[in-house]
């Protein structure tokens, strides 16, 4: 990979489509790199966050709770308990003498005050290192208070963000199988790895209602404890953010025989495929007919407007840097729908299969990166002369500084980008950013336009 200064240890994590071999990944970030990645706690916190009627207590010093306070646009149609920040705010004396007593007291106070359906208790680095027995505290309070108090084993240093996803799945699994499934019909599914950012879960649920499929539980978008308790009664799991939820899907398959399908609701092709996939599994012609009708209706509704955007955006170039690689596939396809070309694509947490598939999917010349950093991203964007960057909070100002349009496809998206309607929103957002009149005044474009 010439032209770009990258850490020597990172050489293998960057390649072009034509290069031989695969992107190295799944490595821990090199110490001393400006990694865009987070920690185990972060992974479990983002997955469990949307469960709105549960208490989320962070056992550690204040920071871990402060930085994860109401930062995810995961909407709830009912309770808003999850949007508060609860911390044991561990102090020096707790570090010396242990924080178990404080945690116990905190949980008693909080549960009495907020009457949640369950409580998740996150272990942070400190809880892990001072040896607080969080599971034991949770166990005794579960008995004492008569509601599930569930430990989330997520000390930041104990792995990568992906290990945090796994810890979240393990925590969720403690609720699974404890609810009544007798009312659940034969055509029923769970949505896994859909977080209701900007209300996206509601769009999905509406599609399935229209084709006659019952959504038993969405894990965890607009999530409710009682729904998770009975999710084992569903006949199929659709796994959207597979990076975060494969573990849960696999356990549900193993223990309850529920098959799963990896799907994506980003972009027209993937959304249609997800709906057809779900519809076909029940072998019910009526559901399949309704699915075809739905896709037809939705496409007819958005196609004319999409075509208008495509005309304008055709030939523009995009960079994608997202958390999970599976989302990147959909984005590459969705950008193609808009006539745009992906010239740089990367993720924080992709696995070898993801990157192999990504390589397959991309156009010639596309650069593929794992666990990148601002210098690399900025250099590639300039070198490849992109018009749009799709990423998260830390990438936005870099794109703007370079005079490049930006679309947040992470926690901070403000419009639903999933489903058919989401595809139209995506087109609108990409169009608004790429075609913003502001870029005309920025040095990069101004020099291209001439005086």
């Amino acid at each position: 990979m010439p032209n770009i200064a990258i850490l020597e240890e990172r050489q293998a994590q960057v390649l072009r489509k034509e290069d031989p071999g695969q992107v190295a990944c799944g490595k821990r970030s090199v110490a001393g790199s400006v990694s865009q990645r987070a920690c185990v706690f972060c992974g479990s916190r983002v997955v469990l966050y949307p469960i709105a009627d549960a208490l989320h207590v962070v056992h550690g010093p204040i920071g871990c709770a402060a930085y994860t306070w109401d930062i995810r646009g995961a909407q709830s149609s009912g309770p808003q308990l999850h949007r508060n920040s609860f911390s044991t705010d561990l102090q020096e004396k707790d570090v010396i003498f242990g924080g178990e007593k404080k945690l116990t007291a905190a949980l008693r106070e909080l549960i009495a005050a907020t009457r949640p359906k369950a409580a998740f208790v996150y272990s942070t680095c400190i809880a892990g290192i001072i040896g607080d027995d969080v599971p034991a505290v949770c166990k005794s309070l579960t008995v004492e208070l008569g509601l599930p108090v569930i430990p989330v084993e997520s000390p930041g240093f104990s792995g990568t963000k992906k290990d945090g996803y796994r810890a979240a799945c393990d925590a969720i699994y403690q609720l699974v199988g404890t609810g009544d499934t007798s009312e659940i019909g034969p055509h029923s599914i769970n949505l896994l790895g859909e977080f209701n950012i900007a209300g996206e879960t509601w769009l999905m649920k509406d599609y399935f209602r229209r084709i006659g499929i019952e959504v038993v539980s969405c894990i965890t978008g607009d999530g409710r404890v009682d729904e998770i308790r009975r999710c084992h009664g569903a006949k199929l799991n659709l796994v959207q953010c597979s990076g975060s939820m494969m573990h849960l899907a696999q356990r549900l398959e193993r223990d309850y025989g529920i098959p799963f399908r990896r799907v994506s609701f980003f972009g027209i092709e993937d959304t249609a495929a997800a709906i057809y996939d779900a519809a076909s599994i029940f072998g019910n012609p009526e559901i399949e007919r309704r699915a075809r009708d739905l896709v037809g209706q939705e496409l007819a509704r958005i196609q004319p407007e999409l075509r208008r955007y495509r005309k304008i955006l055709k030939g523009k170039k995009a960079s994608i840097y997202v958390g999970g690689a599976f989302k990147a596939f959909s984005l590459v396809r969705a950008l193609r729908t808009l006539g745009m070309r992906t010239v740089l694509v990367g993720s924080q947490t992709g696995n070898p299969q993801d990157y192999a598939q990504l390589k397959e999917l991309c156009d010639p010349g596309t650069v593929i990166v794992d666990d990148s950093n601002p210098l690399e991203l900025a250099k590639f964007c300039l070198e490849l002369d992109v018009d749009l960057f799709i990423g998260g909070v830390k990438e936005r100002p870099i794109a703007y500084k370079l005079g490049i349009g930006f679309c947040d496809h992470n926690h901070e998206r403000k419009e639903a980008l999933a489903g058919f309607e989401g595809m139209l929103n995506f087109a609108k957002e990409v169009h608004a950013s790429v075609m913003s009149p502001i870029w005309k005044f920025t040095p990069r474009r101004a020099s291209r336009l001439g005086p």
């Binding site: 185990v40 109401d70 102090q91």
Partner: protein, 457 residues
């Protein structure tokens, strides 16, 4: 979202709900960004660094680069020596800063990593290139708060780098404490207008308020330089603006190099700015020019013009202690009645200083350190205020109680003004004056009965 909050003050002994503070390392990272060509380094798990960078990015809307030791299970058992050494090699090898400013985290503190020894060893082993500087501050997350971390890193600048060479140095040191880049810029403008040469330390202007240039620079032109840091010890005087975030470094400098200091509050509002200008005038031996007199006069004029709307208006003020202390004074100058004055930070010094300001005019005020926003909400629910002054985290209370919120302090995650306009100085006071009065009058216009809705105000 906070509709379940009641007017009863809940008894809580072991729990913070909706904190009015965060942890030390983010303060250390922000302070280090105010040095020229400096890479802040977080010695801990990856998440700390990612969270701090994200939060600073949300506030400043700027790219924030910082590196991490990326702790693993191994490091947490065997110590972080290897991680930090590898990090230093990589940082200098690829990002090539002049300075690496290491701060610890809860994890590396509990493990007990001895950073000075690791730095020394790294230097001996040639892992730190010639001419490059590595400094550190201990910033355990379970002690103090974000302001402590800021102060500790600023103190490290002094203890590691300030020298008394005996050279004749004229600049007055100004330690601004935790202010926004727009404020740092305003302090430099005031000093230039006054004709007083200063060394501002740290200085995040031209680091975190960059123009759109079409390029991404890891080390922009701003920040206090190494030469300036060394020169701190030769300065005749330091002006330190804020008990919590500026005074500790000034004390350290006095101790190390014998530089005396003026211990002031942040220059927010009329009197606090007067005190700052006066200290600067004396330190530099200059006269206050007519242009600054006129600026002050315009502020005073605006205060007189609009003062009727502030008279006896009850307000709640919360956030980091130096900001809250200074804003409380300004609120009093405007005729408002601070009713709740809260910080999440620790320390009796906060309550003492605010009581000094409020015991005469507002003896009923409730002043609390180590408080959280749930308690603030409970109190407001029981006995409301007309205006809330604080950071973005106040917006939930503001919405639930339909009380206008003026955003001042850190973090501001949902508005842009703080990046562009200062809060400090006479101009900053003018801006706050406009924001306070707009908030009160907009609220009145939106909510009052038709017959009380007036064109002219």
């Amino acid at each position: 979202m906070l509709n379940s909050t009641t007017a009863t003050i809940s008894e809580r002994n072991a729990l913070v709900v909706n904190p009015a503070k965060t942890c030390q390392p983010i303060g250390a990272m922000y302070a280090a960004l105010g040095l020229h060509s400096c890479m802040p380094h977080s010695h801990g798990s990856q998440g700390c660094c990612a969270y701090h960078r994200s939060q600073l990015t949300r506030h400043f809307k700027e790219p924030v680069a910082a590196t991490t030791s990326s702790f693993t299970e191994g490091a947490s058992v065997f110590g972080g020596l290897a991680n930090l050494q590898q990090a230093l090699v990589n940082i200098f090898g690829i990002y090539n800063p002049d300075i690496v400013a290491v701060h610890t985290t809860c994890l590396s503190e509990v493990i007990g990593d001895d950073i000075p020894t690791i730095i020394k060893k790294s230097r001996e082993e040639g892992k730190i290139p010639e001419g490059k500087v590595v400094i550190h501050a201990n910033t355990p997350s379970f002690v103090g708060s974000n302001v402590t971390g800021f102060a500790n890193m600023c103190t490290a600048f002094v203890t590691y780098l300030a020298e008394k060479s005996g050279a004749e140095a004229t600049p007055t040191n100004v330690f601004p404490g935790w202010l926004d880049p727009s404020d740092m810029r305003e302090i430099k403008r005031l000093a230039a207008e006054l004709g007083a040469p200063i060394t501002l330390c740290p200085d995040t202007s031209d680091v975190l308020d960059l123009p759109q240039t079409g390029i991404y620079e890891m080390y922009p032109k701003g920040g206090t330089t190494l030469a300036q840091l060394k020169g701190l010890g030769d300065s005749p005087r330091t002006i330190a603006l804020g008990k919590f975030t500026a005074h500790p470094a000034a004390e350290a400098l006095e101790k190390k190099c014998g530089v005396p200091f003026d211990a002031l509050d942040a220059p927010i509002g009329l009197t606090n700015t007067d005190l700052f200008i006066d200290a600067l005038r004396q330190a530099a031996g200059v006269e206050v020019p007519a242009s600054i007199e006129a600026e002050r006069g315009r502020l005073l004029d605006a205060m007189s013009d609009i003062g009727q709307y502030f008279h006896n208006v009850p307000v709640a003020i919360f956030g980091d202690p130096d900001t809250v202390i200074a804003v409380t004074r300004y609120a009093l100058e405007l005729g408002m009645v601070p009713k709740y004055v809260f910080t999440g930070a620790t320390g009796k010094a906060f309550e003492n200083r605010v009581h000094e300001l409020l015991d005469g005019p507002c003896p009923a005020a409730i002043v609390k350190a180590q408080a959280d926003l749930l308690e603030l909400h409970e109190r407001i629910k029981g006995d409301p205020v007309k205006l809330i002054i604080g950071n973005t985290h106040g917006k939930h209370i503001a919405r639930a109680e339909d009380i206008p919120l003026v955003r001042v302090g850190f973090p501001i995650l949902d508005r842009v003004g703080h990046r562009l306009f200062p809060t400090v100085g006479y101009r900053g006071a003018m801006r706050l004056l406009e924001k306070f009065s707009d908030a009160l009058l907009d609220h009145h216009d939106r909510t009052c009965a038709e017959e009380w809705f007036e064109l002219v105000q």
